[in-house]
Structure formats: structure tokens, C-alpha cells
């Protein structure tokens, strides 16, 4: 039976392919975790980097990554919420809307290095803000907006029409219906999307090397006034993030244990991204249960 034999061969080949893929993936994770985790310690996570050879801890970079993430989200969530509501509710099905949608698609498909260079041109060269947290956060926002907008729009559109009609029949405005009724229902989906995009933002490096900069000045963690120059919250200081640090360490690091240190930093980065993914799932399903009161 020719067809049967072909079927068998094809199945074997596919099994083999899957085995190879799974093998590669596991090798990847195992390599990073096995090489990196032994070097991860409390002092590594909180210590300062030696400005000469890049050895030492990643405390400042870790803080920078989180701080940039928070700022990025603070800027991008409201904008993409508004934009998502526009697309889900107000946009009519015409050429203007399709133009807007294409623009968002274009933004989402731009290489992150182009986004980063645009940020560099605008903030560092034109506005003379210099390499800073705020430049980095806005560059990351550019790159985060389309993803988040699309996610919010999808979550909003997925809410059944009857919910909207219920709102209108109560005499509520479209806006109030949207914000008071639809948004809470769509929240689980939105939160999942936000957390997932947070993972992406957390690991982004190419958009940051020329916006947030490649140096992590030691900051005074006792000073929480954002206006003070030495404060970790100051948005105008340069802030090398963890992902940028890994890149720097691999291309310029001089420490004798650079490989081990960047493995450790990579392990931390991957674990953070893993936690974001996991958090997205857990939070999403928790909120879903809360909002819909179902199991």
C-alpha cells in the first residue's frame, strides 16, 4: 500500500522534526539556566556594576528595566485604551478607518532598531534630552502602542452586543456604556495582553541602546525625589536596562567571567519573562472568574 507507506514515512519525519525542535528549545532553556543560575545570588541581583570591566551585579540595571517598564505602561496604556475604544466603537467602516488600521499595522511591523533610531533622532538629537529614562520609555511606547491597541480593540469587540444594548437602553451614553459596562467585561483579555506586552518591553534592547543609553550610573536608592539628579526615579538620567546590559557585556565586556555573568543576567531576564507569561495567564483567568462570576 503506497499511500499507507507514505503516510507512515511522513509521520515519522514529522515526529523527527518535532523532536529536533523540542530538543533545540530545551537545549536553549537548559543552557541558560544551567550556566546562569549558579551565578545568580542576592549580591548579584542587587550589586552595582563595575564601570570599568562590566563585572559585578546587575542591581541598577534590574531596577532600570522595571522603572522603564512602569513608565512605558503609564504612557502607553491610556493612549492605547482610548485608541482601542475608538476602533471598537467609533470607527466607521470606511477608508479612513482602514487607513488608521494600516498605520497601526505599519507601526507594529517596524523593526525595533528603527523605532529606537527615531527616538534617538527625536529626543537625543532634536530635543537634546540626552540618553534618558524618558527617551527610552517613549521609544518603547511607540513600539508597544500598536500591540496594546490591537489587543484592547479585540477584547472590546469580543464583548457581546447585548451588553451594549443593555447600556443604551438604560439611557447611558455610548462612552459611559463603554467605560462602565464593556471595559470591565473586557478587562481579563486586556490585562492578559498588557502583561504579555510587558514581557516584550522588558526584554527589548535594540530600541533602547540609543535612547535610554548604555550606561547605568550608580544611583542613590535612599533618594526617592524624582527631581533629584541622583535619584533612581529621575527620568532624565541614562538608564541601561538588563537586556542592553547583556548585549553590552557580550560585545564589550572585559570581565574575565563575562560569559558567566551574561549567562546569569540572561537567566534572570528569561525568568522575568517567564513570570510575565505565567502572570498573564493566572491574572487573566482570575479576573475572568471575578468578572463573569463563572468557574
Amino acid at each position: 500500500m503506497n499511500a499507507k507507506r507514505k503516510d507512515m514515512i511522513a509521520t515519522v519525519i514529522i515526529d523527527l522534526i518535532v523532536a529536533i525542535v523540542v530538543g533545540i528549545l530545551f537545549f536553549l532553556l537548559a543552557y541558560i539556566l544551567i550556566k546562569g543560575l549558579p551565578h545568580v545570588s542576592w549580591s548579584f541581583l542587587t550589586g552595582a556594576t563595575d564601570s570599568f570591566d562590566g563585572s559585578g551585579g546587575i542591581g541598577v540595571q534590574l531596577f532600570n528595566s522595571f522603572y522603564l517598564l512602569v513608565l512605558t505602561m503609564l504612557i502607553s496604556i491610556p493612549i492605547s485604551l482610548g485608541a482601542g475604544i475608538y476602533l471598537a466603537e467609533y470607527a466607521k467602516d470606511n477608508w479612513r478607518t482602514s487607513l488608521i488600521r494600516s498605520a497601526i499595522e505599519v507601526l507594529s511591523s517596524l523593526p525595533s532598531v528603527v523605532v529606537g533610531l527615531f527616538g534617538f533622532l527625536l529626543f537625543v538629537v532634536k530635543f537634546k534630552i540626552g540618553f534618558s529614562v524618558i527617551s527610552g520609555a517613549i521609544a518603547l511606547t511607540f513600539f508597544n502602542l500598536p500591540l496594546l491597541t490591537r489587543n484592547i480593540e479585540e477584547s472590546l469587540s469580543a464583548v457581546p452586543r447585548s451588553q451594549r444594548e443593555a447600556g443604551f437602553s438604560l439611557g447611558l451614553s455610548k462612552w459611559k456604556t463603554e467605560v462602565g459596562i464593556i471595559l470591565p467585561v473586557a478587562l481579563p483579555g486586556i490585562v492578559t495582553g498588557v502583561v504579555l506586552s510587558a514581557g516584550r518591553v522588558f526584554g527589548e534592547a535594540a530600541a533602547l541602546i540609543y535612547t535610554a543609553g548604555q550606561s547605568a550610573p550608580v544611583t542613590n536608592f535612599a533618594d526617592w525625589n524624582p527631581m533629584d539628579a541622583a535619584s533612581p526615579l529621575n527620568p532624565f538620567r541614562p538608564a541601561e536596562t538588563l537586556a542592553v546590559h547583556i548585549w553590552k557585556m557580550n560585545t564589550e565586556g572585559l570581565a574575565s567571567n563575562a560569559a558567566a555573568l551574561s549567562a546569569a543576567a540572561s537567566a534572570v531576564l528569561i525568568i522575568a519573562v517567564l513570570l510575565f507569561n505565567l502572570g498573564a495567564r493566572v491574572l487573566g483567568s482570575y479576573l475572568y472568574r471575578r468578572v463573569t462570576a463563572s468557574k
Binding site: 491610556p78 540626552g130 540618553f131 467605560v179 550606561s215 527620568p235
Partner: protein, 296 residues
């Protein structure tokens, strides 16, 4: 109304942020008290100078706690154009401002803070320890492609060049190639990467600052002159350059104080040497932007 107002507030906050970022940078530097030195100093540029500047900066701010000093990399080009634009107080550079197109060097003031010696390095496998200057030029212009032509092993030469436009490459090409075009090859833009690649790739040649020599690679003498600090100080070793800190116009007090600190004995005699640079005070010759060397 609750969520709506939150949204509105968020948007208001962003617009504030966006407006705020234009202004806040310019206002910080100006306040100066007569008692303690204060202000904001930003040094941007050369990644080769960054470690020294950062370390010196840390020591400087330990004494002058009111001064906020940030040192950033970004490359010599960024440093020079940023200081020219008045965006930063100090532009760090590996090369003379005159050598960079698009920089009006006469508007900038040069402060030489250290000297860096550079030497060709080869993989130990090649069996070469000394080269004639002409041979070195022929290797980098692609005329010599096998180590046996210069007395080494029968092995192909793998050239690792430095990134176009980088200060290290400019210095090397000025001293060795003297206007000839380098053969196109791999380019790496950092001492760290070059160090790693040359020590692991059979037949590799590149060039490094003295401080990056390790026992895993072979530093090459040229015309039997060894690459040492002493030979640089007398210009017997030709491949070296200054590390510059450029300022524009009259720098503010904090910047002046920092530049003075960089030139002081504390920095030049200990820190500069500890980090593998050569002290500017030890130089017995001076090189100008055109590469003309005069005895001091």
C-alpha cells in the same frame, strides 16, 4: 465617571510629561552656590574613555557631593556632535575634533586627559612576534594574506578590523596605513570582542589598546620596537592617540573643576595608570591634529 476620569488624568499626566521633558533638562545646571561646588556635568562619547571618566567621576563626586556627574558612552561621534550642539557639558572623543567631518573644531576646546597606546595583536598560533611597519601595512591592505610570507606559520591571515569611523581605527590607519585603503574585512567595535576573537581564531590579527593585552594573545613589535608605555612616551612607538574631553565656550564651574581634577596628579599618576592608560604628564612629545609630533 470613575474610569473616565482616570483615563483623562492619565492623558493629562502624559501631556505634562511630554511638555515637562523639554524644559527640565536646561534648568538644572545653572544654580551654583558659592560655598560648595554644585551643578550638573554630563560627559558623553567615547566608549574607550568611558571607564576612566566614570571612575574618576565617582571619585570626584565623592568629594563634591553637590555635583551631579553622569558619564555616558555612545561613541566619539555622538560625544562631539552633542557637545557641539550644546546638549552636554563634555564630549569625550578618541580622536581630534578636526578629524571628524561636520565638527567645527575651532568652536571647541580640547582637554587631553590621557594617552592610549595601541598595538597589533595576533593569535599565538601564527608564530609571529615582530613585523616591519611595511609588512603590517601590506597585511591590512590585503597584499600579504599568509603568515608564512612574514616568517610565520603556513596559515591564512584573518583580519579583524575595527568599526569604520571609530577612533581606534582612525589612529591605527593614520599611523600604519597612511592613507592607503584597508582591505574590507570583519569589523568589531569593541576591545572586548577583539580580544576574545583574536585569542580564539587561528591566524587572526587585529589591534588593541595596551591595557587589553592578555597572555592568550601575542602583541606584535614593530621594527623591533616593543609596545610599551615608555616607547609611546618618546614616540618610538608610533601608534598612539590622546583621549580628549571637549568643551564648548566657557564651561561652568563644576565642569571646569572636573576637568582640572582629571588633569591633577591624583588622577594622572594613579587612576590613569591603574586603568592601563598613559599619563599625559609623562609624555615627552606632543602630537597635533595633523599627526605632527614635536618634542616637549
Amino acid at each position: 465617571m470613575n474610569k473616565g476620569s482616570k483615563l483623562a488624568m492619565g492623558i493629562a499626566a502624559i501631556s505634562l510629561l511630554l511638555v515637562g521633558c523639554g524644559k527640565a533638562t536646561s534648568s538644572t545646571g545653572s544654580k551654583e552656590s558659592s560655598a560648595a561646588l554644585s551643578g550638573k556635568v554630563t560627559a558623553v562619547g567615547s566608549t574607550a574613555l568611558q571607564p576612566l571618566a566614570a571612575k574618576a567621576g565617582t571619585n570626584f563626586t565623592a568629594k563634591n557631593t553637590k555635583v551631579n556627574l553622569t558619564v555616558q558612552g555612545g561613541g566619539s561621534g555622538t560625544g562631539l556632535s552633542q557637545v557641539q550642539a550644546g546638549a552636554v557639558s563634555i564630549g569625550d572623543s578618541d580622536i581630534f575634533a578636526e578629524e571628524k567631518d561636520g565638527i567645527k573644531a575651532d568652536k571647541l576646546t580640547d582637554h587631553k586627559v590621557a594617552v592610549v597606546g595601541m598595538a597589533p595583536v595576533v593569535n599565538k598560533d601564527s608564530g609571529v612576534k615582530n613585523l616591519k611597519m611595511a609588512q603590517l601595512k601590506q597585511i591590512f591592505t590585503g597584499k600579504i594574506t599568509n603568515w608564512k610570507e612574514v616568517g610565520g606559520k603556513d596559515e591564512k591571515i584573518v583580519i579583524i578590523n575595527r568599526a569604520q569611523g571609530s577612533g581606534t581605527r582612525a589612529t591605527f590607519e593614520n599611523a600604519v596605513l597612511k592613507g592607503a585603503d584597508a582591505v574590507k574585512s570583519q569589523e568589531q567595535d569593541s576591545n572586548g570582542a577583539v580580544q576574545k576573537i583574536v585569542s580564539t581564531t587561528p591566524g587572526a590579527i587585529s589591534y588593541l589598546a595596551f591595557s587589553y593585552f592578555t597572555n592568550k594573545l601575542q602583541a606584535v613589535s614593530i621594527d623591533n620596537v616593543t609596545p610599551t608605555d615608555n616607547n609611546v612616551e618618546t614616540n618610538k612607538w608610533k601608534i598612539w592617540s590622546y583621549e580628549h574631553m571637549y568643551t564648548k565656550g566657557t564651561p561652568d564651574k563644576a565642569t571646569t573643576a572636573f576637568l582640572k581634577y582629571m588633569d591633577s596628579k591624583t588622577v594622572q599618576d594613579s587612576l590613569v595608570k591603574d586603568m592601563g592608560y598613559i599619563s599625559i604628564h609623562d609624555m615627552k612629545v606632543t602630537k597635533d591634529a595633523k599627526g605632527v609630533v614635536t618634542q616637549n
